[in-house]
């Protein structure tokens, strides 16, 4: 069996699956249940200065799919609402009882060095393996000058990171907010401040839906609502891109990344790792299904690694990064054409109407005069290979995009004669 253990900027963990800083890691009771279930590590829910934060009711809302499956999840909770003393005591005990698991403590404080200097030794005294700086929380805390309010200003990120490195020997992971134009800027700033790693993404500003009778968004608090932080499966594509942006940025190419955002199964995790993550953090999937999901995640990842001949996580870490590039370096001579497997086709006509109405009129609807039966065929000379028909087809692998033999060599846009600004 493949070795799932990792060493993430000096933090050892029996597997790459950590629980992100969030309600599931708020107290010893939950964290112990998570470790019993097999999670490799936790990032303890963000600690702050006393008195502890106070939360409202209600707190969560969701964006649903067709079958009421949760596509995206939104919350307006703040950092821990328990005292620092209780949290530190519990962290100490849990780490003592579970020495092989990664214990990272999330922190959020105002931008005053003295406050950081005061708390860091206390955290270190718990025996924790590292700290994560919560520069990402997009709701509530930024109004008080913390969370995303820090993460959105690279200079602050660098400054606070530097304080932490100065006042603690623990590895420092800087958690980044996606509510920013270019995620590479705070990542570079974290690195400049001495960060051992970054983790991303934190949640995205969001309003999931409204009560149209009351004209108020969810979650409802009294007669009003506020924007929350969005996470869950729906944010995975955004998170993957941001991880890749940092992984392929020459300035941060060697900075370890803990991937977060919509990870719900082993395949999601493998994708984050292939795009540059050294560990992955999960929250929403556990909140929806319980801690037991880590079993299938570990099993699936391990079997896939065996199948592919990857002996360790490091064997495929960043393996997809070289294949992620700028648009201008894509091969202009590459061509795929849709192919419909008539045996698999259930004749729903979705590919036809999608292509006909919104794309390139490249699928013909043929109606048998005698039976009225419809068949759909690709008009090869019209097909630009956009993938839309394949995407809208409800039957897996009924429509495939077949690479064509063009006989032409690789040629990117910078070399293309149709580009008026080509290099050569």
């Amino acid at each position: 069996m493949a070795d799932l253990s990792i060493d993430f900027c000096g933090i050892k963990s029996p597997n790459p699956f950590w629980l992100a800083s969030a309600p599931p890691t708020d107290k010893a009771y939950n964290v112990v249940r998570a470790f019993e279930a097999g999670w490799g590590g936790v990032v303890w829910k963000t600690l702050g200065e006393d008195p502890a934060a106070v939360n409202v009711s209600s707190r969560y809302s969701a964006h649903y799919g067709k079958n009421r499956e949760v596509l995206g999840f939104n919350n307006i909770e703040l950092i821990t609402d328990r005292s620092l003393e209780i949290n530190l005591r519990e962290i100490t005990q849990v780490k003592k009882d579970w020495p092989d698991r990664a214990m990272i403590v999330s922190l959020m404080l105002p931008c005053e060095e003295a406050l950081w200097a005061e708390i860091l030794p206390k955290v270190e005294a718990t025996g924790a393996d590292g700290i994560e700086l919560n520069f990402g929380c997009p709701h509530g805390m930024p109004e008080r000058g913390m969370g995303a309010a820090v993460g959105q200003v690279p200079e602050y990120v660098e400054m606070v990171t530097r304080w932490c490195k100065k006042h603690s020997k623990l590895p420092v992971i800087v958690k980044l907010t996606p509510n920013i134009t270019d995620v590479r800027a705070p990542a570079r700033a974290a690195m400049a401040g001495g960060a051992d790693a970054v983790s991303l993404i934190n949640t995205i500003n969001s309003i999931t839906h409204l009560d149209l009778d009351r004209m108020v968004a969810f979650p409802v608090v009294g007669n009003a609502s506020t924007h929350g932080g969005y996470c869950g499966s729906a944010v995975k594509p955004i998170a993957l891109n941001m991880v890749a942006e940092i992984a392929r940025d020459p300035q941060t190419a060697n900075l370890p990344i803990s991937g977060i955002g919509g990870i719900g199964n082993w395949r999601d995790a493998a994708e984050f790792i292939a795009l540059g993550a050294g560990s992955v953090q999960v929250c929403t999937a556990a909140m929806l299904h319980g801690f037991r999901i880590v079993e299938e995640m570990k099993d699936g990842l391990s079997r896939w690694m065996d199948e592919k001949g990857y002996a360790s996580i490091a064997d495929f870490t960043r393996k997809a990064v070289p294949n992620t590039t700028d648009w201008k370096y894509l091969d202009m001579n590459y061509q795929v054409i849709a192919q419909i497997d008539q045996d698999k086709c259930i004749k729903c006509g979705k590919c036809y109407v999608a292509c006909e109405d919104t794309s390139h009129q490249s699928i013909a609807q043929l109606i048998d005069a005698a039976t009225g039966v419809r068949t759909y065929e690709v008009i090869k000379q019209e097909c630009v290979g956009c993938n839309l028909c394949e995407i809208t087809c409800p039957v897996e692998s009924c429509i495939t995009m077949v690479p064509q033999e063009t006989g032409k060599p690789y040629m990117n846009w910078t070399q293309d004669s149709r580009n008026p600004r080509r290099v050569a």
Binding site: K66, N67, K347, C348, G349, K350, Y352, V395
Partner: protein, 459 residues
Amino acid sequence: MIDSLIHLPHAAPGDSARLEAQFTDLAPPLTARQAAIEAARCLYCYDAPCTRICPTEIDVASFIRNIHDQNINGAAVGILKQNILGGACSRVCPTEILCEDACVRNHDAEGQPVKIGLLQRHALDHASFAAHPFQRAASTGKVVAIVGAGPAGLSCAHRLAMLGNDVVIFEAREKSGGLNEYGIAKYKLPGDYAQREVEFLLSIGGIEVRHGRKLGENLTLAELHGQYDAVFLGLGLDASRSLGLTGEDAPGLLAAVDYIATLRQSDDLTRLPVPRRAIVIGAGNTAIDMAVQIKRLGAEDVTLVYRRGFESMTATHHEQDIAKANYVRMKTWAAPLEVLLDEAGRVRGMRFEETRMDNGRLIGTGAFIEIAADAVFKAIGQHMDGSSLSDELASQLQRQGDKIVVDQQFRTVLPGVYAGGDCVAPGQDLTVQAVQHGKLAAHAIHNDIQSKAGTAWPT
């Protein structure tokens, strides 16, 4: 109507509640959650095969999407604009050979079709309209006579009213609804659903129903021809075919449709005569309806006998399954030969000759079987009672077999006289098709009388 069974004991005296429970919805409605799950299974096909096969051309994908989007009234109007009796059709349509058979999710890889019939019912059961959802166009000043308040006539009347015409329906029976009221198995259209649907339909306004008026009895086509701008005949098929055997008039032998009508109109099921052993002859949905209902009323042994094999039955597989689930015995390859009578001249059973196919012809094998029974129900098809078309003008209608010949616009050979539903050829004798005939005929009538405005009755 069922005097022929007067000598038989009553169904379970004093156990009315248990009996009533046998005649509630055979297929329970979907819960809101089930409807949501089922609606989500619809792929929203383009040029969807379910819509193409629906005789009333309901945009199935659209109404299901509306259900999913919690626009129940929108879903209901989408159905009703194509099929004003969509509620009854959602319960009685053989969806297993129509929309649900055509559903792309029937494909081997997909497993099972979307439950379109139940979703249609869900939409119509849960829609709520402050007023009738369709408005009438400005009055044309025309008045159309319709004969028969069954699905074809009602559908025609509603559409004519919508287009701005006034309508008078002449109906022989006490209630409107036709087979929905008198002929469908009680567990498919339970309670007073048929009447409530008629009330809803009539609430558009402009439609008057005159009961107790029967063509050929107290009404003539010539009379209607003289007084109205057009006539639509939605006569249905009011007579049961006979077996052509001696003893056909014996007590204990009767038409299934007569028993079903009595059952549906009964306000006390315990007073219905029920045989201990029954034979039902036939292979259509009415035969199944009869066999299952008499079983549910308490008959111990019910045998459905058909002269050909299962594959030739017009009753769908779904219907055959209902019969099996109700422990109806089905005997195929046996043709009725003789009605067996007891000393008092009452039915005691039937004698059948076994049959087989011989070079494409059905022949007797020379082997015989007897099945004991206290009652025999004929369900071998309906035809038109010639007496309704016996007056001088009506007798000029062109007929094919017993059915009235119409063109694609549902025009008969008599100018100004239209016909649709089960009484015209060709037809599948389905409620949903009758609704479509009525709807299309209404448009044809409306266009014809509009273009002939001011001219005399064309003869």
